[in-house]
Symmetry: C2
Subunit: 190 residues, 2 copies
């Protein structure tokens, strides 16, 4: 993201986005106020308003950046998969089950931003919807029987949601078992 390794401060716009994200993660959706974001970013409230004319604009900026990051991350996971039948769906499984720590953190950040945006205005999620739409379009050309790819994706979504909302904690053995079960779906059906 930063083109100079020694740059101590990114530009104000990026700093504001980072600050807003950090606040959402630390103090929750309700903790995000323009003043707090400005303070955390080291700019004044007026300065923030210069870059993002409203709270909604700030959230939209957050969402757009997040959608871009997510799509890029998924692209990388996808390219790491061997080509062939079910490639996209295999990528989704890999994305869910053996992501590196960095991706996991990114997921958490994305989730927090996602919920904050949804809270303010569900329409803000449109960029994310587009990303998901593109992934689903890929899946449809994945060479898998109808329903299999979608079932796997739904399961991955569900696991993500469960951890997001802290519904239950999976032990590592359970995670592996779930993955094994889902991979069975990818095999040609008898």
């Amino acid at each position: 993201m930063s083109d100079s390794p020694a740059a101590p401060l990114p530009d104000a716009r990026t700093r504001i986005l980072d600050a807003a994200e950090a606040i959402i993660r630390a103090r929750g959706v309700a903790g995000l106020t323009l003043e707090a974001a400005a303070r955390e970013a080291g700019v004044s409230k007026g300065g923030l308003l210069y870059h993002f004319a409203s709270k909604e604009a700030l959230l939209a900026g957050l969402l757009n950046r997040m959608a871009g990051h997510v799509e890029e991350a998924f692209r990388q996971v996808l390219e790491a998969q061997p080509e062939g039948r079910g490639r996209t769906t295999r990528a989704i499984l890999a994305w869910t089950f053996d992501h590196p720590e960095a991706v996991c953190q990114q997921h958490e950040r994305a989730a927090a931003v996602f919920l904050a945006a949804f809270h303010h205005d569900p329409a803000l999620l449109d960029p994310v919807r587009e990303v998901i739409g593109r992934i689903r379009a890929r899946q449809r050309e994945d060479g898998l029987p109808t329903g299999v790819a979608q079932a796997v994706m739904a399961a991955c979504d569900g696991l993500f949601m469960a951890s997001l909302f802290g519904m239950y904690a999976l032990e590592e053995a359970e995670r592996r078992a779930i993955r094994t079960a889902l991979e069975r779906l990818l095999e040609p059906s008898p």
Copy 2:
């Protein structure tokens, strides 16, 4: 819910809960204010505060009622399933895929309440966590291979989330295909 068929007005407490739910569904999480809930319920703000001493108490009341409804509804679906291997997991599938209209509406209501509560304080979700914990405990005695039941539940959660956040709309054919794929998981593995 109402013990008298001709009762035009339930007691104030129930009316307040209903009103709060309706507001959350109609105007979103942010639209729920004590004043609005009181107005919608046909009581004054003071009246509302008499029954629920704070906004948090109101949300907690909403969550508890919701968790009770959900557990009761699931119990009914469960009892409609034939006994034997995978009963609980089959019930989850039925719950997700061929619920009557009433259950579908209940899901929507539950989702809205769920998000509102999470926004205010994630700890409010504890009653729901308990319900889910009980369902998962049942699943573990379901006679299915490890991971299968959890995978199906995750998929159902994912579908629910997708509709909740409006991520994508499934056509009926797709829904059926997903269900078929998930049911394949329940069959004894080769």
